[in-house]
């Protein structure tokens, strides 16, 4: 399984990082984390799918609305490496899902001893975060454009 967060690392470096992780299995429909929870672990998806959602009021009810869905190889929970270390979305398994959980503490210790690994992972993390930013930015602008068109009609 090729993980986007470990892209560019040598097999030895990948092995070094993966030994820090613990396998987590989330049953279908179960929650991995909730919006606002303290974020101290980042997850690499091994199998299954994770829905990232935000709460929205729909007809007076609070409903979790899908923002993004993560599949094997993708990273979930990068808030664990970025202050203030709180999840900004909720994550739920669409189907039974396996992930590798990497604690911030163990990763930071690894980065201190292997700065080259830390550098590559930081770059990969920037790609993940940047991609989300670009997607949300484009989606936001398209929604704004529709709102402007509706108001101008």
């Amino acid at each position: 399984m090729a993980h986007e967060l470990l892209s560019g690392l040598s097999p030895a470096e990948v092995g070094q990082v993966l030994t820090l992780g613990t396998k987590v299995t989330v049953s279908s429909g179960a929650s991995l984390f909730r919006l606002g929870d303290p974020a101290d672990r980042i997850f690499l998806t091994e199998r299954g799918r994770i829905r990232l959602t935000l709460p929205m009021q729909v007809r007076g009810r609070e409903e979790d609305i899908l923002i993004e869905e993560k599949s094997p190889g993708q990273t979930v929970g990068w808030s664990a490496l970025i202050p203030p270390y709180r999840f900004t979305l909720s994550a739920t398994a669409s189907v039974e899902t396996e992930l590798i959980a990497l604690s911030r503490e163990s990763l930071q210790a690894c980065f201190e001893t292997s700065p080259a690994v830390g550098y590559k992972i930081a770059l990969n993390l920037a790609v993940v975060v940047g991609h989300r930013l670009q997607l949300v930015q484009a989606m936001w602008l398209r929604e704004m454009q529709r709102t402007v068109e509706l108001r101008s009609a």
Partner: protein, 107 residues
Amino acid sequence: MEMLLMGLCMTVFGLAVAAVAFGAATRPESSAPKVQPALPAVKVTPARFFSDYVVPPIPPQQPRVPIEVLLQQIENHVRVEQAAAESFVEFPTHALLHSKTTSPFVN
């Protein structure tokens, strides 16, 4: 002859009195203003038959679709829009950014 003329005169006089009285009876009152005030505009209302027309109460807005269907529509919309955003991020152009959405949720 004199009697005939006298009768004719009396008849003519009687007719004149009757005509003046009739004219006085049918003439509009002199105190009424000659220029009538403007009448308020009459609002044209639909014809009423058999009973007074009563405006039916507007029922409260009923949800058109079950909430599960609405949530599914929102989710599909997010997926469609995310795919559109992915296309833009992959190859950023003005046309792709403002491409018309195919999402039925907003069409």
